[in-house]
Every structure is written in structure tokens, then in C-alpha cells.
Symmetry: C2
Subunit: 208 residues, 2 copies
């Protein structure tokens, strides 16, 4: 398989989700363009990188395309090769994110929640196993957790991030307001509401 550039991969992933929301059987690059706001040429190029040659002259087959993207980009939802993740910090936000149902059908499985407050993890009822932050390192390793969702107070964010990185975590979804410093091979996505809103001001409403 050819090497697909990261921006194309990201768009393809969005396309896959978009296709799941579609009822029709066939769809053209023009329609996808209208739905996403991206140029038609960009969409055709992205899809052609998959080397399917499936959509010749008649538009793409919605299901075939969706499945092909998931398979080629390796975001299958087969339980055997799911990526395991956890939530660190069970405040209001962390608790709200602790919904196992949202992970259903995804390439991820939520296998743990962590909080420093012993009482909380005993009292809280959840389908997901909860642990004390004290056992973070032990549990991350034993449960083979690869990704973490960070929802601790801002001032503890960098400290917890360091601990996660030390355990070999591959990526952090950062809901805190703190900018995290991590080694280059660890992915961080800063999705704090205020941060994301501020980022919107920086873009001159060109593309998404």
C-alpha cells in the first residue's frame, strides 16, 4: 500500500463516519464535496490513494468505500485488536466521559477510570473498573492501556502526563487547559473547550 499523507488520512476517517450516516448506496465526489466543504479534486485524490478503483464513472459505493477506509487505515472495530484506553481524573467532566456506550463500534475500548479520591472510586457506580491514581502505573501496564483521556485539574495535568508517558502511553486526549510537554513520539490532542474555541479565532474561515 502506498503511503497516505496524514491530512488525507484524517479526511478519509471523517469520510468513513460520514458514509456511515448515509442511507443511499452510491455517492459522487461532488456530493461528498457539498457535505464536507472540501474540494472535489481533494476528495477524489484522497480516495484514489486507497487504490480501490471501485468508483469508475458512477460514483462510489457507500458501503464498499466505508469498509475499505476502515480496513486500510486500520480502524477496525473488531474486539480482538481494539486499542485500550482509560480516563484519568473523574471530576464532573471525567465522569461524563466515562460512558462505555460511546465507545461501542469504535476501534477503542474503555477499560479503566482513575481518580485520586478513594471515596469517589468506591462510591461511584460505573460499568468501567475504577482505580486509585496510586495504582496508575501498575494498571496501565497490566491492562495494556495505550491511550489516555486526561480530565484532571489544570495544575495536575503536566504531572499526570509525565506519569502516563513514563508508562509508555501512545496518545493523550487533553481536556485540561494546560499545554502539555511530551516526547515527540507521544500524540497529544488539545480538546479543551476554551482552547478549541480560541483556535477558531485563528482560522480565517478557509477550510475545515
Amino acid at each position: 500500500m502506498k503511503n497516505i499523507p496524514a491530512p488525507s488520512k484524517k479526511r478519509l476517517l471523517t469520510l468513513a463516519r460520514l458514509l456511515s450516516q448515509q442511507e443511499k448506496a452510491k455517492i459522487t465526489s461532488i456530493e461528498l464535496s457539498a457535505l464536507t466543504g472540501w474540494g472535489e479534486a481533494t476528495i477524489r485524490r484522497d480516495i484514489s490513494l486507497l487504490e480501490l478503483h471501485n468508483g469508475v464513472s458512477n460514483g462510489y459505493d457507500v458501503h464498499v468505500l466505508r469498509d475499505a477506509i476502515c480496513e486500510i487505515l486500520q480502524v477496525s472495530s473488531v474486539s480482538s485488536d481494539k486499542h485500550r484506553c482509560c480516563i484519568v481524573g473523574l471530576g464532573k467532566l471525567g465522569e461524563a466521559l466515562l460512558e462505555s456506550s460511546v465507545f461501542a463500534g469504535s476501534a477503542f475500548e474503555l477499560v479503566a477510570g482513575f481518580d485520586t479520591n478513594f471515596n469517589k472510586i468506591e462510591i461511584m457506580k460505573s460499568e468501567i473498573p475504577l482505580f486509585a491514581t496510586l495504582d496508575l502505573e501498575k494498571k496501565i501496564r497490566s491492562l495494556k492501556i495505550e491511550y489516555a483521556v486526561l480530565a484532571v485539574p489544570d495544575e495536575k495535568a503536566q504531572f499526570m502526563s509525565d506519569r502516563l508517558v513514563a508508562c509508555g502511553i501512545k496518545g493523550i486526549v487533553n481536556y485540561t487547559n494546560t499545554v502539555l510537554s511530551v516526547p515527540k513520539d507521544v500524540r497529544v490532542e488539545h480538546v479543551n473547550t476554551v482552547v478549541v474555541l480560541t483556535g477558531m479565532l485563528a482560522v480565517s474561515s478557509l477550510q475545515k
Copy 2:
């Protein structure tokens, strides 16, 4: 002022936050590079686009630089020109996001929460005014709300997005799992945990 490219703006915004977390008075591009993982040249180029000529040979003045970024990129936190935003959908997640304190010191002000459930908006206690979704259009216009945080159930996401767009909303922070179709001049940031996690798989751990 020269036109600053969007990627540089985004990095500068992150730098500004990073500088706020710093105690020292001076900082060099090498140190910023270590903190962010970006190339030193990239950082120097970004900063030079601000045309400050402030850091000559001795590193940058942390406070001067931070303030300059905020001013030039227009993300000031002066209450008079704050951007007003609202949260749509007050389920567990929406409720957790309804913390006015997280907006303190930002360029944004949370002025409303919406939910279809009349009981909920009466019973819920919050510092932020709560309204019925029925009054969405009326309130968005009267309160001059420019940005929305979307936390409704997936199946209502596109519908609510359409209503928000019809009111002239400028940007949507999308916590749902649904891919939204909006006009090109409306910004959407898809921050649903599973979506963000999946996006991480697409990036070959190059840059952030």
C-alpha cells in the same frame, strides 16, 4: 500587519498559553522547541511574523511575547469584546461543560445553556442562564451568541447544527459523534473523544 498563515497562528496561540505557564522571564527558541516539539526555525519564523523585533540575541521576554500574541491575534480577555457562546444539550456532558469558571480569563464568555427538557432547566441550578431549546433562535439573537458547544444526542446533532447555522452562528465545538455538514464560512471542530482518539491512529507520530 502582515498576514499570518493559519498554522502559525495556531502555534502562536499554543505558545501564548505555554508562556502563561512559565515562571522564568526570558525564554529562547531552543527551549520553546523542547517544550513543544516543534523545530526551532519554525518557532522563530512564527514569532518573527509578529514583527516585534523584541528578542534580539537574548531570547524572548516571556510576558512581552505572550501579551503581543494575544493582542495581535485578537484573543484579548477584556470583557467588552469577549465572544459570547452557549452550550446546547445539557445531558451529563453538557452539564459538566457548563462550568463558568473555565471561561475565566479567556476571550469567551458563556452566556446560555439550552435543553429540550423543561423540567431539567427549571430544576438544574447553574450560574449560567438556562433556556428551553424552543427559544434557541430568539435567545441566540438577543444575546448575540457567536459560538456554540454542541452536546446533544448524536441523532439530533445535524438538526441542531442547522438551527444554529440559521441563526448565524460562527463556530461549533462538536462533542457529538456525528459529522456535521455546515456552510464553508462556519467553523466546526470535532472534539468527540472517540473521534479524536481515532484521528490519532491516522498520524504517524510526526508533528503535533
